[in-house]
Each structure stands twice: as structure tokens, then as C-alpha cells.
């Protein structure tokens, strides 16, 4: 008896859609790879990317430029209220690192217009450099979903500490002690 192929095709189509849904949920879920590794006491390699410097679009900068130095990588934006609260702590850290020659704070702006970011820098009197992650690709590599987020990176380019949320003095002191700064 000849049977219609329609039910089989319908079942395959539904299975394909369900598979697509599962794939979407898996790929779009938060990337916790770095967090899990750091929680286990490991130091995973810090993702790096060359990006334009805020306020100097003709220039670019990346983590690789700070090889041998400690980097406090901070994702921020002018529209982010908690970023305003942590800015003085980050500036104090920048002054300390620069004075000791140990490293730098490196800001990464996320989905923020340059003029707004520059205004934020002026208002908070920030002296550390920032790069612009316009497409959010670097943020994606760090599993960044909400701002602010901070990653303390040792002189060998490895992530030593992570703070998903605003940093405070205690976190920065402990994280910098870990990386010998």
C-alpha cells in the first residue's frame, strides 16, 4: 500500500524546528567559561582584540599592548549608572598602577556613542585609556551581559579575577594582590 510522505515531512520539519530552538537556547545562554575556570583557581587566557581608541578613532589598542603588565579591564558605558559609582575606585587604581609602573586600567565602552563616553570621562576626571567595542565582540568573548564588569588580568595575559557588577576597593585590593601588583 502506498503511503503519503506528508506526515513524515511534517514530523521532520517539527523536529528541525525543535532542534533549532534547542541550539538557540544553548548558544545564546550566558558564557560562564571564564567564571568557572577562575572559580577553580585557574587562570584562563584573556580574550584580546584590537579595537579603536575612544576619542582617537584613527588609533587602536588591545590587551596585547600591555604584555608583562597588569591590566584591569573594565567594561562600561555612559548610560550605566553603576559605572558612575565605581569610576572613582577605578581612577584611584589607575593612579596607583601608573605610579608603581605595574600596569593600567583599560576601559572598554559598550554600545555607547563616543561623545557620550567622552563626556562621562570628563565628568569623572578619568585618566585611563578606553577602547570602543562597537559590535560587542570583545564583550561577547568575556561573556559580558550587563555593565559594569571588570576582569583583572595578570602580566601573562591570563584572567585572575572577575567581578560582574560594580567593583569596590576590597575586590580591587584582593585581585591586585593576587597578580602581584
Amino acid at each position: 500500500m502506498k503511503r503519503s510522505a506528508v506526515p513524515l515531512v511534517a514530523v521532520l520539519a517539527v523536529a528541525a524546528l525543535v532542534g533549532l530552538l534547542v541550539y538557540g537556547v544553548v548558544t545564546k545562554s550566558d558564557d560562564k567559561t571564564l567564571d568557572e575556570a577562575v572559580a577553580k583557581g585557574q587562570r584562563p587566557a584573556a580574550p584580546t582584540m584590537t579595537l579603536p581608541v575612544l576619542g582617537q578613532s584613527s588609533k587602536s589598542n588591545s590587551l596585547a599592548a600591555y604584555k608583562g603588565k597588569v591590566v584591569v579591564l573594565n567594561f562600561w558605558a555612559s548610560w550605566c549608572d553603576p559605572c558612575k559609582a565605581e569610576a572613582p575606585e577605578l581612577e584611584a587604581t589607575q593612579k596607583r598602577l601608573a605610579a608603581d609602573g605595574d600596569g593600567t586600567v583599560l576601559g572598554v565602552t559598550y554600545r555607547d556613542a563616543s561623545d557620550d563616553s567622552l563626556k562621562f570621562i570628563r565628568e569623572h576626571d578619568l585618566s585611563y585609556p578606553s577602547i570602543r567595542d562597537v559590535d560587542g565582540k570583545l564583550a561577547k568573548d568575556y561573556g559580558t551581559r550587563q555593565l559594569p564588569e571588570t576582569f583583572v588580568i595578570d602580566g601573562r595575559g591570563r584572567v585572575a579575577a572577575i567581578k560582574r557588577g560594580p567593583v569596590n576597593r576590597q575586590f580591587l585590593d584582593e585581585a591586585l594582590a593576587k597578580v602581584g601588583a
Binding site: L17, W79, R111, A113, G136
Partner: protein, 160 residues
């Protein structure tokens, strides 16, 4: 010589005249906030900018107005938005991976519907053709004499 120069001048005028009239017929439209607003997203809210009311949406609107004030076209304003906020501001899924599903799934559904039509329509036509080719049902059997008489009586009674 003069005649030839006049002829060339006349031809040049004839060629340039339509261009001039076209320029008048299609004046360059100034870009407006509304033109751009309904085609871009508020990058933080994840909603279309024309329905977003957050402070970020206001910043994006201010940015668009600034670009319009510089005399930029709609496309140029959108390019400037992408340069500041990334592809997310366009609200169209970009890149590969799962985002490609946003384009591929509708295309696959359309193809599946077309394939289903291509499969079903010939069957309908075949079944319709076979129903017309089928022998006509047998003619109604003739009434008996008694039935004919009773029918005529009923009709006569009805017409009275």
C-alpha cells in the same frame, strides 16, 4: 562655422534641459527623525526606537537629530548609528550562527509551502479530472403506472 557652433549649442541645451527639469521634478527630500526612527532600535531596550521611551532612546534620537542637522541622508545617518552603536542598532540579525535562523526559517517555510503546493495541486487536478471522466449515474428509473397516476392526481390537487 557659426552655424555649426549654434547647432552644437542647441544640441547641448536640448540634452541638458531634461536633466534640469528632472532636478526640479524630484527635489531632494530632507531626512527627518521619523524617517530613521522607525528603522532602528534602542540598543539597550531591544525595541524599535520610535516606541522606546528610555533615556538611551532619547540619546539616540539626539544623535540622529545631530546627524540630520549636518545634512546627512537617511542611509548616512544609519551608517553613523552603526559606527557608534554597532549592527545591533539596525535591528536586523547579522552574522552567522543562530542569527542566520531569522532569515533561513522564513525562507524554509516559504519553500516548504511551495513544495506542498507543487505536491498537492497536481493531485487535486487529477482527482477533479477523474471525477469528470467517470460514467454518469444511471438514469432515474421510470415510474410505474400506479405511481404515475398518483403523481398526476397529487399535482392536479395541488393546482386546484
Amino acid at each position: 562655422m557659426i552655424r555649426r557652433a549654434l547647432l552644437v549649442l542647441g544640441l547641448a541645451c536640448a540634452l541638458l534641459a531634461p536633466a534640469g527639469s528632472l532636478a526640479h521634478a524630484a527635489p531632494v527630500q530632507r531626512t527627518t527623525l521619523a524617517d530613521v526612527e522607525d528603522e532602528v532600535m534602542c540598543v539597550l531596550c531591544g525595541t524599535a526606537l520610535n516606541i522606546s521611551e528610555s533615556s538611551q532612546a532619547d540619546r539616540e534620537r539626539a544623535f540622529i537629530k545631530q546627524q540630520i542637522a549636518q545634512g546627512k541622508t537617511k542611509d548616512q545617518v544609519k551608517q553613523a548609528l552603526v559606527a557608534e552603536y554597532g549592527d545591533a542598532v539596525l535591528g536586523t540579525p547579522s552574522g552567522g550562527g543562530f542569527n542566520a535562523a531569522a532569515w533561513l526559517v522564513p525562507a524554509a517555510i516559504v519553500l516548504a509551502l511551495l513544495a506542498a503546493l507543487a505536491f498537492i495541486v497536481p493531485r487535486w487536478r487529477r482527482s477533479a479530472r477523474s471525477s469528470t471522466d467517470a460514467p454518469a449515474p444511471a438514469a432515474t428509473p421510470a415510474l410505474s403506472a400506479a405511481d404515475t397516476r398518483r403523481l398526476e392526481e397529487d399535482i392536479a390537487r395541488y393546482e386546484r
